[in-house]
């Protein structure tokens, strides 16, 4: 991620453009004479994405595996590696009519759709606009992000250009069209209540949610209630016993680090509550799901949110 931005910055200077031109020429030369497996001969982005006429590729795709991802995106690699990263293919494109209008495409293969959603959701930019390409896609003034099956795709432009976003969209449409995937929906997202939900706030934390060792694959959503922000969470465990144990362990975790045990005024079986860092946490289990409320400003808000979440979860699971 950092490397890409460095390249973008350099691309904005004359020197950078000159270097880029030389690089492109060298790449073409290398492409015709060498045997790099990362060239277009391999099963790379050029072979799976139809490039619109309005765009031209500037280099052969680069391929990165778990061993060298950090060379491309530096410390950001940890996020992807912990979420099941398989490989990354990246490539520069420019508008056919305007060589100065550049953008780089990153196609992260994350193993499965949940992993792809995880890295997408945890990096989502607040002031982005939803795009009607696939269920999970948004754009900023110079970038486009989406999830397609196990792929997390980023397209990031070097400059602000009103022409570039439509071109990115075209490329994204081609990628989606040319890349058949299993379009399985994410079940847990249906379990979150819709009322007061912050649109686009649903996320998946791949590992170590809330800093609790072993609490992985946790879905979260934020709600605005009476001017305060509350997070609700759901995480499927192997069975109901494990979900119950996680609720107990999670409660102990907060108590260990300074939390105060409080009896919640809710009708959710075995629900537990903690006051910590001037906020309120509630945790409970329903069947094989661990669920709860994180960082509510008041006890009443935490309880109200927990009741609504539990009700929705029971309804979805048919246990109400």
């Amino acid at each position: 991620m950092i490397q890409k931005n460095k390249r973008i910055e350099k691309g904005e200077t004359f020197k950078g453009r000159l270097i880029l031109l030389v690089c492109v020429l060298m790449t073409i030369s290398i492409y015709s004479t060498t045997i790099k497996i990362t060239s277009a001969q391999s099963d790379d982005i050029q072979s799976i994405v139809t490039i619109p006429q309005s765009l031209k590729p500037l280099n052969s795709p680069e391929v990165f595996g778990p061993d060298n991802l950090y060379e491309k995106i530096n410390g950001q690699a940890e996020l992807y590696l912990s979420a099941g990263f398989v490989h990354l293919k990246s490539q520069w494109f420019a508008e056919a009519e305007n060589a100065d209008s550049l953008f780089e495409v990153y196609v992260y293969h994350m193993g499965d759709g949940l992993n792809a959603f995880s890295v997408y959701s945890t990096q989502r930019i607040d002031d982005a606009h939803k795009v009607d390409l696939v269920p999970f896609a948004y754009q900023t003034e110079n970038s486009l992000y989406l999830v397609h099956g196990p792929y997390y795709v980023e397209m990031i432009s070097a400059t602000l250009s009103e022409n570039i976003l439509p071109k990115m969209t075209l490329l994204a449409q081609n990628f989606i069209k040319d890349t058949p995937v299993d379009k399985k929906s994410i079940e847990e997202l249906r379990f979150f209540p819709k009322e007061n939900l912050n649109q686009g706030s649903m996320s998946l934390i791949a590992k170590n949610a809330f800093g609790f060792d072993g609490l992985d694959r946790v879905f979260t959503a934020t709600y605005n209630i009476d001017g305060g922000k509350i997070t609700a969470f759901i995480s499927k465990q192997k069975n109901s016993k494990e979900a119950k144990n996680f609720a107990i362990g999670f409660h102990k975790y907060f108590i260990t680090f300074g939390g105060k045990d409080i009896k919640p005024d809710v009708v959710i079986k075995d629900a537990k509550m903690v006051e910590i860092m001037d906020t309120f946490e509630i945790m409970f289990s329903i069947n094989s799901y661990l669920a709860g409320v994180h960082e509510a400003s008041t006890k009443i808000q935490a309880e109200a949110m927990a009741e609504v979440l539990a009700s929705k979860l029971q309804e979805a699971l048919g246990t109400k």
């Binding site: 950092i2 060498t34 940890e78 800093g211 975790y253 960082e295």
Partner: protein
């Protein structure tokens, strides 16, 4: 270690790490607290990680730092505990988590305003172009909800002379005068030794974050580079201290797997985990001010804090063990200089790419992918791959990677592969 470093006894350390290794958060925290206050019975007193001087800045920083490339938004409690345990060197970057890392820290500072003064906050800019740096800095300050950062770094520098010039220096002076940054420097994990040497020559770099670990620390070039930085008064932060990227893969070839197991067993018998021993090996160099560690959960935070608090230095035998392990598995840690080995064949034998095929095959078990990629190598090269003379390439390889052996292994495993 500095005299200021507060320590546990070795026995207590064994006890703590044993428990932390078992993953019992509740027990380990209590033991950690009790161990640190063994001679002072009474109410709970949190342990505090020792500090070290950060170059010539006049500032002492915690010898254990918290890496911010993680979901800190949901981990405000981890940030709180980090402060309580004295882990007050916090590292983040403009792009970490799409900016959410900085925002999460900003949320923390908004709530615990007093803690801002306790934390040495480091963030990084993806650009070294002055006007862009200003933009990135202002965005970072806004996200972090602070008026200044303690250290501002250019992210991922691989060539100091290409990245820094007089306009950079002027920008730094202005930013310092405006009070927006206290110190300035860069991070590097490519050509590190050269970057450190060149950084030391500049004369106006305050701090450098560099890849530095039990594998890299023994190279003469790295030793000289660290010494040059120390003389220049540059504060050094180590990252990538576990050096684990390639080792998993190559460790599976040959007997090195046994070496890794032996290492684990021996350190566990002594009360360390290998991870803790690797941290201690880095801290053994007093010129490393802090280690930046990811620490994604409270268990790892506690285990690393325990390692930082332990007063026992690695013994000569311990260091020898680590160094032997590093030597035996050096070929599992590619230093990223394919231009050296491939230059022997004028770029016509893609050694590093074939190693990647082996990585897919051995480490990730993705045989189809490995074979598919291997088949993209022209058949004439593939046929001769096992017979090329790699002695010159091996001679050039600073990691002593047995290239010939690995190329033969590739032919053996991949050449006749059928994709089905």
């Amino acid at each position: 270690m500095s005299k200021k470093e507060k320590n546990l006894s070795r026995r207590e350390f064994f006890k703590i790490t044993g428990i932390a290794g078992a993953g019992s958060i509740v027990a380990s925290m209590e033991k950690l607290a009790n161990a640190s206050n063994k001679s002072e019975p009474g109410p709970f007193k949190p342990v505090i990680v020792p500090t070290r001087p950060f170059g010539k800045t006049g500032v002492n920083v915690s010898m254990l730092g918290l890496g911010g490339s993680q979901d800190l938004m949901s981990k405000q409690l981890l940030l709180r505990q980090a402060v309580k345990m004295g882990v007050t060197y916090w590292d983040t970057a403009h792009r970490y988590e799409g900016g959410n890392s900085e925002k999460a820290i900003g949320n923390y500072f908004a709530k615990y305003t007093d803690d801002r003064k306790k934390v040495f906050i480091v963030t990084k800019t993806p650009s070294s172009v002055p006007d862009k740096m200003s933009r990135y800095l202002n965005t970072s300050l806004e996200r972090l909800k602070t008026s200044y950062v303690d250290m501002f770094l250019i992210h991922q520098v691989s060539d100091v002379n290409d990245e820094f010039n007089q306009s950079t220096k002027a920008w730094v002076e202005r930013a310092k005068t405006e009070g927006k940054i206290k110190f300035f420097g860069f991070s590097t994990h490519t050509n590190m030794a050269q970057c450190l040497m060149d950084g030391a020559k500049l004369g106006w770099i305050d701090g450098i974050m560099t890849s530095y670990n039990y594998r890299l620390m023994h190279a003469d070039s790295m030793k000289r580079a660290v010494e040059a930085c120390t003389k220049a008064g540059i504060g050094l932060t180590a990252m990538k201290t576990q050096a684990q990227f390639f080792s998993y893969f190559y460790a599976k070839i040959g007997k090195e797997n046994e070496t890794a197991l032996n290492l684990t067993e021996q350190f566990m018998r002594k009360g360390f985990t290998p991870e803790q021993a690797k941290l201690k090996a880095v801290w053994d160099n007093p010129n490393i001010a802090s280690i930046c560690s990811e620490m994604p959960n409270m268990t790892i935070l506690q285990a690393n804090v325990a390692a930082a608090l332990d007063k026992t230095k690695l013994s000569f035998q311990d260091k020898q063990l680590l160094e032997q392990y590093a030597q035996k598995t050096a070929f599992g840690y590619c230093a990223g200089c394919a231009n050296l080995c491939e230059s022997v064949f004028k770029g016509n034998v893609p050694i590093s790419d074939i190693m990647r095929c082996l990585m897919y095959y051995y480490n990730y078990g993705d045989h189809r992918r490995a074979i598919r990629l291997f088949k993209t190598v022209p058949s004439t090269t593939r046929k001769r791959l096992a017979n090329f003379d790699y002695s010159r390439a091996e001679h050039l390889c600073p990691q002593n990677i047995p290239i010939a052996k690995l190329m033969k292994k590739a032919v053996e495993k991949l050449a006749t592969g059928d994709l089905g």
